[in-house]
């Protein structure tokens, strides 16, 4: 090892200023935009109070970018656009251009390079997802693989914008659900309590923290084979996996019993109704790499039913609120079971205490 020079103190600059990387048209018209329109899927045209315009071309990628891909995206931005980009929170890259006549050549170049133009307005945009087996320390599945497999099948809906309203899909690799709420969410659901390696617990885990982490107080300290360890009341355990991150010897992931569940109706926007949480609709779906066909089939079924049945501007939650949950299960053919009836805190608010019943 080379003799280190004095360690360099960090410059605690925090969040960089976005204005320095902003298209000059956007800097000039900051706060002065008048309206926008969707000239075609994947393209936005914004017009300012001063009559200036900025064009945006939205592009789907593989999210985990290698340096070759990132440089290719930069090359396209330099050759066909103005060198200004941003990323949406669903990891689409947006090219911003001042000259509308450059839009079509950019789209052609982007598509020729293997990227996908779309994701605007009433499309199924890119699935926002978590790290999975590539990098996470607690994953039950590989969201990147699930998403790649699913986007292969949803690509036409990404490229079009003819859904009733926008569709945001998310995936999560464990029940912490970093992927967040979505119109449709595909999340890991463990179905068996953790398997504990009692030889390791005392050395690896801070036991009181692990006990405190359990949402249902199912974990208690115990002596196992003469060693301090932890035990789980398997009757109480809800198999959430919250104990696994602070205590890796409490393995929750199981090749067979870690399943996927599908949830619908999560909506972050305040438009029409207040923001909503997603609700369970399907579970017991095999965690089936490398292509997870069973999960994709259910998602496509839900999307098809929604597209056929929902009215303009209805997000999935709006649509189901109008037609009712019985109709949702009937139209999609998904089974409704005892597991769909909530029993977590506040569950009573989800019960039908009325005679409002559709026949």
């Amino acid at each position: 090892m080379s003799q280190a020079q004095a360690l360099r103190p960090p410059i605690e600059s925090g969040c960089p200023d976005g204005f320095q990387y902003m298209h000059p048209v956007m800097r000039r018209n900051f706060g002065m935009w008048k309206f926008h329109e969707h000239t075609r899927p994947g393209v936005l045209r914004h017009v300012s109070e001063f009559g200036e315009e900025i064009w945006t071309v939205k592009v789907g990628t593989q999210r985990i970018l290698d340096v070759f891909t990132l440089r290719k995206l930069c090359d396209l931005g330099d050759q066909y656009a103005d060198g200004y980009v941003r990323f949406t929170i669903r990891s689409n890259i947006e090219y911003m251009l001042a000259d509308g006549s450059k839009v079509e050549p950019l789209i052609k170049a982007v598509e020729d390079a293997g990227f996908i133009v779309g994701g605007t307005a009433n499309s199924v945009t890119m699935i926002s997802h978590t790290q999975g087996w590539l990098h996470c320390d607690i994953p039950g599945t590989d969201a990147s693989g699930v998403v790649k497999s699913m986007m292969d099948e949803l690509i036409d809906e990404f490229r079009a914008h003819d859904m009733p309203n926008r569709v945001h899909i998310t995936t999560s690799c464990c029940q912490i659900n970093c992927g967040g709420q979505g119109d449709i969410a595909i999340n890991v659901q463990h179905t068996k309590p953790p398997k504990i390696n009692h030889d390791l617990v005392a050395n690896v885990c801070e036991r009181p923290s692990v006990v405190a982490r359990c949402p249902v107080a199912a974990i208690r300290p115990a002596l196992v084979n003469g060693k301090p360890s932890l035990e789980v009341d398997e009757k109480k355990c809800i198999c959430c996996g919250a104990c696994f991150p602070p205590c890796p010897p409490m393995q929750i992931n199981d090749a067979e019993h870690s399943k996927l569940s599908i949830w619908v109706g999560g909506n972050h926007s305040n438009a029409r109704g207040r923001p909503t949480f997603q609700k369970l609709v399907a579970s017991g779906i095999p965690n089936n790499p490398p292509r997870w066909p069973e999960a994709t089939a259910i998602v496509k079924n839900i999307l098809k039913t929604y597209k056929e049945d929902a009215k303009d501007w209805e997000r999935i939650n709006d649509w189901i609120e109008r037609i009712g949950w019985p109709a949702f299960f009937e139209k999609t053919g998904l089974p409704f079971t005892r597991y769909h009836v909530d029993n977590w805190r506040g569950a009573r608010n989800s019960l039908n205490a009325s005679t409002h019943i559709r026949f």
């Binding site: 360690l7 103190p9 960090p10 410059i11 605690e12 600059s13 925090g14 969040c15 960089p16 200023d17 204005f19 990387y21 902003m22 800097r27 900051f30 935009w33 008048k34 309206f35 926008h36 914004h46 945006t56 593989q62 999210r63 985990i64 970018l65 290698d66 340096v67 070759f68 930069c74 980009v85 990323f87 929170i89 293997g114 996908i116 926002s128 999975g132 087996w133 590539l134 996470c136 320390d137 994953p139 039950g140 590989d142 790649k148 986007m151 292969d152 923290s209 405190a212 982490r213 949402p215 919250a242 992931n253 926007s269 923001p275 949480f277 965690n287 490398p290 292509r291 501007w313 506040g346």
Partner: protein, 421 residues
Amino acid sequence: MANNHHSTPMLDELENGPWPSFISGIKRLRDQHSDGRIQGMANDLLGQLEHSYETRKGYWKGGTVSVFGYGSGIIPRFSEVAKSFPESKEFHTVRVQPPAGNFYTTAILRQLTDSWEKYGSGLITFHGQTGNAMFIGVNTENTQAFFDEINEYGFDLGGAGPCVRTGMSCVGAARCEQSCTNEQRVHRTLMNRFTDDVHRPSLPYKFKFKVSGCPNDCVNAIERSDFAVIGTWRDEIKVDQAEVKAFIAKKGRDYVIDNVTTRCPTGCMTLNADDTLDIDNKNCVRCMHCLNVMNKALSPGDDKGVSILVGGKRTLKIGDLMGTVIVPFFKLDTDQDYKDLVTLAETIIEFWAENGLEHERCGEMIERIGLANFLEGIGIEPDPNMVIHPRQSSYVRMDGFEDAAEQFYRRKMEEKQAAAG
């Protein structure tokens, strides 16, 4: 060249199909990159990932890695199967705070790419779910050097662990007609006040700021942040009646009735016989639906500010929580307004730091102690905008009610006097 590539039959399946493949990208690093270090890392990463696909298990464990002077920002990853895949045995992620609004030039992206290529795996994600630029895959030795290089040209680490986390803001006023605030300024004012709390984890758990310029909440602030700042307005929606007529001429009256007026959650809109639109603005809840549908004809008002909601979070531990309205309307124009916003955030974080349990999010603490106690703790008076409806249960001790009511009247009188000057 002797082919010592790991066989990856399952991952190879993910190279099929029309969507761009991350597996093809990692293979490009393995096969086409000029640096043997990156080739080897990519090869062993693919090997370990294939092993995960075969066994349906992850093989990364955490640890302790950071850069000099900081206690967070690096996500350490050590392989549990390093013997089989030694060249990617240390594969840490560097979390880097993006510019507010996720704006980049291709030039700065290239500069970051060049730096990363010198030290890391060559894999980058824009962005992780918290909002960081994720530089995925660097060994312990190179972590400091990579950080030093990008820190010199203006990039800093994000948070990890029990600390203030990297913030997020929407595209906002830079390109959106619905924007009601300066997202750039709100984002950077808040984040850069708490830089110390980003880099040195010492809070009960994570704390996230997110800024959306309007109630469409495109960065999911209400549900995904502890402190959500949402642009709004309190005067009247601006109606361009000529554009209303143009819209009706194009789409028809039925479309407006079916998709605009009857979708209004408070029924505050009337489509008149002469194709003009009336809005009962006192009953508008700023949901944004009509503005989204008729974005040329309708615009937010001029008296803009923000609503602040506190306590949103995802599932762990007590279940998902939406943020709760703490300040219905916060004017954000002057330097003093921004100082007051920072003071509010400081007060909330300080109260939570003192009263939150270990690993308890701010929203969970509010759930535990009750909103009224939280409000008292941060010195904010209760407001009916904070609830959907008042209490339903009579099982509560109320011997302080008369005093509270008297204080309410006194406060209202003082407000009136202050307004009168």
